[in-house]
Every structure is written in structure tokens, then in C-alpha cells.
């Protein structure tokens, strides 16, 4: 294992730390509503101030996801988007000039069916910096962790408010960042978070030197600001996916497509207004 940092995600977190900023990490379901639009949305998110991106692989049975991302998955699956397509999308975005670190968010079964050898060979040459596998707890992840290390990609562990004494075990040997689940429940916008979420995040901080990000249910600029002040990264998922869903009629019509893309950019830009970027 090399100590030299070449992972784009690690570099981004180091730079942000020097600037005293938290990462804004939007989530997108790849292929919703189609691949070409996903590439266009990635450009908009970058322009809107995203620091890294979660690229969601659509799945037939997304256990950890609420209705918004379920619907996005169902739309994307109509055009048979799968793990490989998502990785190709990351590579195309890079070739089109994106400098963002890409995190592939996928359930475990699609990875398993691709075969771990194939999967990691492709991860390695498709500009993927990190992996999030929401249904792969630490007990089942030894093989994935080892292989991730070998190719220099970060397998991002999730910790939940219910993890308590499991936190130490989960973060030991992790890389990239630690993903704190804000509340009990599936993904989706919410107005309140787990009582004691601050204490939870600070207990995770005490357990690791890695950057700590928070996600699940964060949808407004107030919520982003609240968590940006105590975390190194904030993930916004369903709120953005819902925005995409709302503007699909605009995106589908060539005459209004740029208006639809602009609305997505503006929504993400207002999540962290320029004046509050330097915390």
C-alpha cells in the first residue's frame, strides 16, 4: 500500500481543509432521465459549486432508498442502465472536462454479478475515486475493502445513529471519508433529523482522523449550513433527484432543455450560497 495520495477525492478533501470549507456532494441517479442528460447535469452541478459527485447506479430493489430515488431508478432502468454504463458515464464526464472526484453508489448485487475481478478492473480505469455500497456492512466487506485498497479507490463506510459501539470497528482501516447517516430511515427529504445527531457526528469524529460527511434527508441551504459547520462534507441526494424529476418535461423538450438544466444548477447553487462558501 502506498502512502502517496493520488486519489482525487483525498486531494479534494485536503484542499478544502486548507480553505476551511466543507465539501458539497450532490447525488444523481445515472440515466435519469437519460445518459446524455446525466452528462449535462454533471456539468451544471460542477458549475453550481459541487466538490464531488455521487453517481447512483439504478437498481431494481433499492432497500436503502425512499420513493424519490426509487422512482429515479425505475426511470433509468427502462433504458437498461447498469454498473458498467455508470462507470462509462464517469469517464465521459472526465473526458468532457470535469475535475470532480466521482463516487459510485451501488447496491452489492450488481457488483457481484459483474464479478469482483471485472468490477475492480473497470473501476480502476473509469475515474472512480470512491465506492458506496449501502447494503454491505463491515462484516461482509473484507474482500471489497482489500480489493479497493489494491486499486487505490476509497470504499466509503456508512455509520448510523444506531451504530454506537460498532463505530470503531467500522472506521478502522477505512479510507476516503466516513459517511454519517443523519437519521434512522431511508433516503429522502426530511424536516427533522435524529435527536442527538450532533453528538453522533462528534462521536464519529473522535473515532477517526478521516473526513466526516453527513447525508440522508438534507435538502435545504439551512440544513447544509448546519451540517457544513460540523462536518467535512454534506451529501444532498433526493432533493436534487426530485428537482431533476420536476424538470423532466423541460429537459425532454429541445426548446426548454437549457431552462431545465439551469433550474437544476440554480437549485444546487442556492444550497450553498457563494458568500457562505468560506466558513
Amino acid at each position: 500500500m502506498t502512502t502517496e495520495t493520488t486519489n482525487r477525492m483525498d486531494v479534494t478533501f485536503q484542499n478544502l481543509k486548507q480553505q476551511g470549507r466543507a465539501a458539497l456532494i450532490p447525488f444523481l441517479t445515472v440515466g435519469d432521465p437519460d445518459l446524455e442528460t446525466t452528462l449535462a447535469i454533471i456539468q451544471e452541478l460542477e458549475a453550481a459549486g459541487a466538490d464531488m459527485l455521487e453517481l447512483g447506479v439504478p437498481y431494481s430493489d433499492p432497500l436503502a432508498d425512499g420513493p424519490v430515488i426509487q422512482r429515479a431508478s425505475a426511470r433509468a432502468l427502462k433504458s437498461s442502465i447498469h454498473v458498467r454504463t455508470c462507470m462509462e458515464t464517469a469517464l465521459k464526464a472526465r473526458q468532457a472536462g470535469s475535475t470532480l472526484p466521482f463516487i459510485l453508489f451501488t447496491y452489492y448485487n450488481p457488483v457481484l454479478q459483474m464479478g469482483l475481478d471485472n468490477f475492480f478492473a473497470e473501476v480502476n480505469n473509469h475515474e472512480i475515486s470512491g465506492l458506496i455500497i449501502p447494503d454491505l456492512p463491515v462484516e461482509e466487506s473484507a474482500d471489497m475493502r482489500r480489493r479497493s485498497r489494491e486499486v487505490g479507490v476509497n470504499l466509503i463506510p456508512l455509520v448510523a445513529p444506531t451504530s454506537s459501539e460498532r463505530i470503531a470497528k467500522i472506521v478502522t482501516g477505512a479510507s476516503g471519508f466516513v459517511y454519517c447517516v443523519s437519521s434512522l430511515g431511508v433516503t429522502g427529504e426530511r424536516s427533522s433529523f435524529h435527536a442527538g445527531v450532533e453528538e453522533f457526528i462528534s462521536s464519529v469524529r473522535q473515532a477517526t482522523d478521516l473526513p466526516v460527511a453527513v447525508g440522508f434527508g438534507i435538502s435545504t441551504s439551512e440544513q447544509v449550513a448546519r451540517f457544513a459547520s460540523i462536518c467535512d462534507g454534506v451529501v444532498v441526494g433526493s432533493a436534487i433527484v426530485r428537482k431533476v424529476e420536476d424538470v423532466i418535461p423541460l429537459l425532454d423538450n429541445p426548446a426548454t432543455r437549457s431552462e431545465g438544466l439551469l433550474q437544476i444548477r440554480e437549485f444546487v447553487a442556492q444550497l450553498r450560497p457563494a458568500e457562505s462558501r468560506l466558513l
Binding site: 431494481s60 430493489d61 432497500l63 452489492y108 459483474m114 449501502p134 445513529p161 444506531t162 467500522i170
Partner: protein, 399 residues
Amino acid sequence: MIEVPDQQGRFGSFGGRYVPETLMNALIELEEAYRKYSGDPAFQAEIDYLLKQYSGRETPLYYAERLSKHLGEAKIYLKREDLNHTGAHKINNAIGQGILAKMMGKTKVIAETGAGQHGVATATVAALLGMECKVFMGEEDTRRQALNVFRMKLLGAEVIPVTSGTRTLKDAGNEALRYWVSHVDDTFYVLGSAVGPHPYPMMVRNFQRIIGDETRRQILEAEGRLPDLLVAAVGGGSNAIGMFYPFVGDDGVGMIGVEAAGKGVDTPFHAATMSKGSHGVFQGSMSYLLQDEYGQVQEAHSISAGLDYPGVGPEHSYLKDIERAQYVPVTDDEAMDALKLLCVTEGIIPALESAHAIAHVAKIAPSLTKDDIIVICLSGRGDKDVESILAYTEGAEKK
């Protein structure tokens, strides 16, 4: 025989725990509570009392003489799980998990259901124990099994129609898990089949093994020896594993799990997970799974809502791979013919699920001899299916 599952909930390479981190502590607590109470005589006594006085166990092992003679020379016995309170084996597990929930101090239970039998069983036990109950049921199934929906409501449960995905059992399971993630603090998930993350497959098996334990005792009494063959329908596989498990160490006892072939295993419309599936992770465990080349879970099809499931319990996958049990498909048409056969030879209307097991025996019995003894697990009664049967008979059933 190696005792399975191991500490990680593995049956060979199957099983395990593939769930969001939010659920891990709840599963660990559940496993600890189960291990603690299953060694507690008071816990077992309470379950035994309810199984006997409330559900009416033990259920008979009935020699189906007219069916046997109709099919040839072999002796066919029926393990009458249909005579349980609520009409199916599902109550065995619902009582067990319900008492466990009570011991753990939980006051709310949730369940998923396909045909509605497990939903009815859970609603029944929740009423008995004074607990709040929510049942998740695919919208498609709420139409196919409207009578069971009404039963659950009568019993005081809330039935939540699931409109995601294929709107059948698999989606009801997904939705129950999602709900559990959000309410893990005060809610006990009464999972209905021998599937899901560890410890459910082990726990459900152990609550259902009473089927096989009684059968062993009863057949020894009736015949003075063990049967040659056990046959049971497999959707998730809880009645089958309950029947098989106590006989796994008896080499002379064959075991056949019968899965739903729907319109045929060579059509896209079947639920033959073992015959046509491959290894995959689904709803918390590694097992055989109906999926496409990209790992997307495929829709299952069967006339029987209880077998309409693209996964299967991990212990069945294990028994298949070590070649201890055999798994065979039976089509909708074959199951329907077998259902009618049992009606006219024995005066018993079986559940469509159980009719699959009878159908396979109808295929193989003619080639057996008078020295062969077969036990079929008659997992449930068919009253709930009468409307489906009528529709099918009239050719109106579309699926």
C-alpha cells in the same frame, strides 16, 4: 452433518447479513435475544402452550388412502398444517416471533405478506398479544387476496398496499425493511419466511421445525420407520425447511422442494428460483436469485401469491448445493390439476402453494412401489384461493 448456520449466519456460502448499517444493531440485538430466550424453558413453554391450546397442534399426519390408490402403490401421507388456526403453517412462526417480541418489550410489530397467510397469522398473534400491527402487502396481491386483506383488518391490523416495483411479495418485503429502518427503536419485524438477513432464516426454521419434529414422531408411530421422501412447496421455503430440517441427518429420507414454474420454466413467467436462478444477494442474504445478467432482480410469476417470489431461503440453496435436497418446478396448470385431484379424492381443498407439492407427487408416485412412503407438507388450506381458482378455471386469470 455440519451444523448451520455458523456465527456469521452462513449456510455454506449462503446467508449472511447484507443490510443497511442502520439495521445491523437491531439484527444483532434480535439474535442475542433469540439465543437468550430460546434457551429459556419459560419461553419455550409459552410457545408450546399457544401452539397447542390456541393453534390446535399437533396437526395430524393423515394417510391419504384414496389419493395414494389413485396414484399407484406408494403410501402418501399429508402433514395437515392446513388445520392450524388461521389455516396455514405460518402461525407457528408468528407465535414464536410474537412471543419473542413480547419478551423483548416491543409493542409494535410489522410483517410482509404475499398470499396473506403470514399477514393474517401476524395480525392474529398481534391481537392475541395486544400489539399494534402493520402489514405490508403488494397492491397486486391485495387484489388477488382481497379476503385475506379483510381478515387482517378485522383482526385490527393496518394493511399497507405497496405500490413500488412489481407490487408483489418482494416489494412488500422491501417496504417492510424500509419501514423497519425508520422505526427500529420500538418495532419488531415479524418476517414470514426462512429468508432475509441473519438471524431470520435460522430463527424461522427453528420455529417451523415443529412440522418435521411431529412428522418424525407420527410416522414412526404409524409405520414404525422413517419416510422415503418428504415433499413440500418452496417460495421463500419456511414450511419446507420446517419439514426437512429434523430429517437432514437421516440419509435414507429424500427431500424434494417444489417451486412454482408458473407458465413454464422456459417462459419469462415463472418463480423457479432454484431451477433458473443464480447466486445473488437479495433482501439481506446470499442465496439463489432470479436476476438478469446485470444483477437486477427479476419479476416472478405464479398463480400462487405465496410462491411468487424471486428469492429463496439460504438454507435451501445450501441443501441444493450439497445435494441433500432436490428442487423441482411445477407449473400453474399442474398445480391446478393437483388441487382438483385432492379435492375429489380426499375432500380437502389445499392452498395453491401446497398444490404444487401434490402435483409433483402425482408425477412421481406412479413409478413408486408399495414399500415407498411419501409425506407431503400440506402447508395451508385453499379457502383463500377459491376466487383465484374460479377465475383460472374460467380462463379469466391473465397471469
